[in-house]
């Protein structure tokens, strides 16, 4: 068994530098790598390019990095919950590349899987396809999209083991599995780190080969963006 455990978030983020490209898992605030983001804030790493479906909210998630102006460029599909983001974008301080959500996921998966490029129908005929090759297959038009390139992927899982195997809970899975192995180094933070052998090999969502470093985070905030409920009876 190849051991991937590191003792702390500090050790897990060794090697991060200004100007790097990071992938960050999560959908909204669900399943985001809270500890890695906090450490990036603490380290003051700047000029970051972030590949992340969303940009957090003003005071949580990637919003924390936006507040400190650490992000140079965002590659996302939806950024609508963040006023500071919108301000920086409209003023031109922040570069933004909006990408259809399914294309974003697949550009990660392509990087993970050694595919340089793929054809997708999403965005054909829109400004997303501008400057890109388009092509017809079986009477339908498609856009050629290329795999992402990133230095680090920061993901968050529910459980993980020493071998780097990951299991997610509910919709906190989202982009996290697609980003594992899609960057040069994948750092996984988990709520519960268990010994190798404690997880059922049939039930691993991400095999450890896609993860280089794993650590257990504590006191996850897991903030809810839209608390929608119904009354009992």
């Amino acid at each position: 068994m190849i051991k991937k455990t590191v003792s702390s978030v500090e050790e897990a983020l060794k090697g991060v530098q200004n100007g790097m490209t990071f992938m960050l898992g999560g959908f909204g605030l669900c399943g985001i790598p809270e500890k890695a983001i906090a450490e990036l804030v603490r380290l003051g790493i700047s000029d970051i390019t972030c590949i992340s479906n969303n940009a957090g909210v003003d005071d949580f998630g990637l919003g924390l990095l936006l507040q400190k102006r650490q992000i140079k460029k965002m590659i996302s599909s939806y950024v609508g919950e963040n006023d500071e983001f919108e301000r920086q974008m409209l003023s031109g301080e922040l570069e933004v590349e909006l990408t259809p959500q399914g294309t974003l996921a697949e550009k990660c998966r392509a990087a993970q899987s050694g595919f340089p490029a793929f054809y997708t129908p999403a965005g054909y005929g829109t400004e997303v396809a501008e400057g890109k090759e388009t092509r017809e297959f079986n009477g339908k038009m498609y856009v050629l999209e290329e795999a992402f390139k990133a230095d680090f992927a920061f993901v968050k899982a529910w459980k993980g083991d020493e071998a780097g195997n990951l299991i997610f809970k509910g919709t906190a899975r989202n982009f996290n599995p697609c980003m594992c192995g899609a960057a040069k180094i994948t750092v996984a933070e988990v709520e519960e780190l268990v010994p190798a052998g404690a997880l059922d090999p049939n039930q691993i969502h991400v095999p450890g080969i896609f993860v280089q470093r794993i650590f257990q985070g504590n006191n996850y905030e897991k903030r809810i963006e839209q608390r929608t409920v119904r009354k009992r009876n």
């Binding site: 605030l29 669900c30 599909s77 933004v96 909006l98 259809p100 697949e106 999403a122």
Partner: protein
Amino acid sequence: MLDKNGIAKRIAQEVKDGYYVNLGIGIPTLVANFVRDDISVEFQSENGVLGMGPFPFEGDEDADVINAGKQTITTLPGASFFDSATSFSMIRGQHVDLTILGAMEVAENGDIANWKIPGKMVKGMGGAMDLVASAEHIIVAMMHTNRSGQSKLLKKCSLPLTGVQCVKKIVTNLAVLEVGPKGFVLLERAPGVSVEEIKDATEGNLIVNGEIPEMRID
């Protein structure tokens, strides 16, 4: 004239037995409340869940179980969770039968714009571009006119497009319309709304064939 719930009620009639349905944010989300309970339908949310149920009871919210609108939800028996790539395999691979989403503008050729107002509002397309480029059945749920009273059913979209020639049906507060080869075909009027009123509120080519029935909403 319909309110948002009325639009959702009318759209719910388009949901057929055995359909997997993706609901966008806003009015589309309300559709789930009005689907007949004698048919089998499963709701997919592109953030990675199939078999969504109603909102949780107070105190049962789980931060790890949300829909694409970031709302806390529950799941029903037979539900599954999956990653984003798999979610869009369902969408792009046309396994999701019906997509219901909102729009800022729809053109008479089926073009749709709903993600960007240049220089003003840029929230992003989320999953909408994948959904409209892939779904076989796309229904737009929206008000017939915008807040300034201008038509949202146009000859040509003025805003950046989300997808081309993809919208099949539109349900607004005034009418049900189909996108035909020559423009918007009026199918039904909202209760109390005249064909004239719909004509006035529609900038794109409106095709009125014979008597137009009033919609039936129970």
